[in-house]
Point group: C2
Amino acid sequence: MDIKVTLNPNPKAKPTDTSALGFGQIFTDHMFRWTWNSEEGWHNPRIVPFENLSIHPASTVLHYGSEIFEGLKAYRRADGKVQMFRPIENIRRMNNSAERLCLPQMPEEDLMQALVEFVRLEQDWTPSDKGTSLYLRPFMFGNDESLGVHAVHNAEFIIIASPVGSYYKEGLNPVKIMIEDQDVRAVRGGTGYAKCGGNYAASNRAGERAEQQGYSQVLWLDGVERKYIEEVGAMNVMFKINGEIVTPKLTGSILPGITRKSCIEFLKSEGIEVSERLLSVEELAQAMTDGTLEEAWGCGTAAVISPIGELCYKDHKYIINNNEIGELSQHLYDSITGIQWGEVEDKFGWIVEV
Amino acid sequence: MDIKVTLNPNPKAKPTDTSALGFGQIFTDHMFRWTWNSEEGWHNPRIVPFENLSIHPASTVLHYGSEIFEGLKAYRRADGKVQMFRPIENIRRMNNSAERLCLPQMPEEDLMQALVEFVRLEQDWTPSDKGTSLYLRPFMFGNDESLGVHAVHNAEFIIIASPVGSYYKEGLNPVKIMIEDQDVRAVRGGTGYAKCGGNYAASNRAGERAEQQGYSQVLWLDGVERKYIEEVGAMNVMFKINGEIVTPKLTGSILPGITRKSCIEFLKSEGIEVSERLLSVEELAQAMTDGTLEEAWGCGTAAVISPIGELCYKDHKYIINNNEIGELSQHLYDSITGIQWGEVEDKFGWIVEV
Ligand SMILES: Cc1ncc(COP(=O)(O)O)c(C=O)c1O
Ligand SMILES: Cc1ncc(COP(=O)(O)O)c(C=O)c1O
């Protein structure tokens, strides 16, 4: 497809102090936009200056949660080149999310082209300090200008980009996570497997409560039996119990994380199987009590691997692996970030240069 | 509070043919706006010309479903005056929705004042033909300009208004509803009781499938056991089974409808009890098979009372009450709309004149 480019006549100064970047706070000079309606389909792909959107007060996205998004990163290699990690996985997940929410499908090749051309234009915004990257946020929303509740006839797809700082300024520090037993994030048959706004709106209250008690995120239980471990606020979870690597299986209410998938595939390449199965909170509590829980970690694009040093369940606090990062967590972190930053050979075909 | 008014210098012509109005398609000349941030609280209440909103591409509402809304109507009485139906109930429900989504609470009196002053200014937009009204859509959304997932520090509250046509142009026609056994709208512990965007986003796919098969909406089952009747797309449901009036009890995954509440209170005033209890789909199917289901109706602000003439469950079609409106449904419709349009005395204190 032919992407029309309108350059920003007033480019901003790029941040020099990457230690102050944080996450998703400053944005690059441009954005990619693509418009869809039920008559014309996708049309007018364009890169334009980053600016506020003009949205009708009755637009579907403001009322009926008609919104999906993705999150992936572009990394600067030592040789100065910029590369993305498994963007095709984000593209496919976004189309799955679109199907669940009755938003339009996007041709995979067009979306890949949009990502590559957009990142190429903005590549100077990719910081080079250790642990930093250019976060890419593709998102799509329903944009009918009327209040009827139904599948939309108009949608917008946008990509914005934000240089982000290192998740681990002081090294790979274990996080404290609280197991949530009141609020539910998602249920089988619902939208849990889709990356859509409503799942995050449902998560905020428990997240706030946990934060007030000094925990960084919550660990969700399934919505049917309130018994099986699902995922953390913005990460999937993995455990090493008595030598077995366990991660909750994808039952429909869990986001199928790309970092999760990469961990499973990477470990398999080293001859280590990951059991994707149901894991009850009782089994986990038992393993924490009898000391067979060797390691626990979250995995997601933001932190890649986030060792879990403490889990709280029903006011009981369990310390995991002495609140230190485990050997396998460290190995996974080094291996996957090594591929992402181009320091380790990519035997998997995961990397896309821009 | 002091609401600053900026009049629209280019008011539109009001629609003359109310039969073509539809629902939520055209809007009045103004909107009410109110801004909140965590330092100042609610500030700058204002009525301004209706226009597109300028929204940052990273705004919370576009990514994380941080949005709640209400729907109520202003009705024109025979004497020309305009009145609202139980607005305090919408105000309270909106604050409950806000609590679930970590959006800010609004003082009830201020919100009531905003509704009254806004409707007073726009009252000429209230049509007077039978069955027509001025639909009011208060909504609030999180508006931080960054991609972090957490409770917001900025929010916007807006009221827009739309003259809407009669729901029943050809009389009170029974609708066909399909019982959904795949997708789930909401689950206990989730956001079902809140009027928030994510619930509607989760509903679209099943709604579309039902529509393609000739059904107007779906009837949801509970997300835990997939067994108990919950509610219809945008209405609560009531049944008359063997003389008993039954409506699903509010377990947390059902929207607590104001029309539902009004039906219960109105019937109580006539000495008729409504059982708020669990109602399984098997019990309902049995009642349809053995003929003890006498009437079924949906209740919500849009249609007030919507008789259900056919229910489809697992490819089995059940015709209810000969596909005709039942006596009690008709009585409820006449009584409640009578109060709403000022034709029947309001013994309940439900009416607020503007
Ligand atoms: C709810 C949730 N689970 C898991 C993940 C991890 O997915 P990924 O590895 O694709 O980033 C994310 C997001 O990053 C998330 O938001
Ligand atoms: C999901 C849902 N249930 C029920 C209702 C009925 O509520 P009310 O009677 O307050 O309009 C509505 C909306 O109107 C709704 O959206």
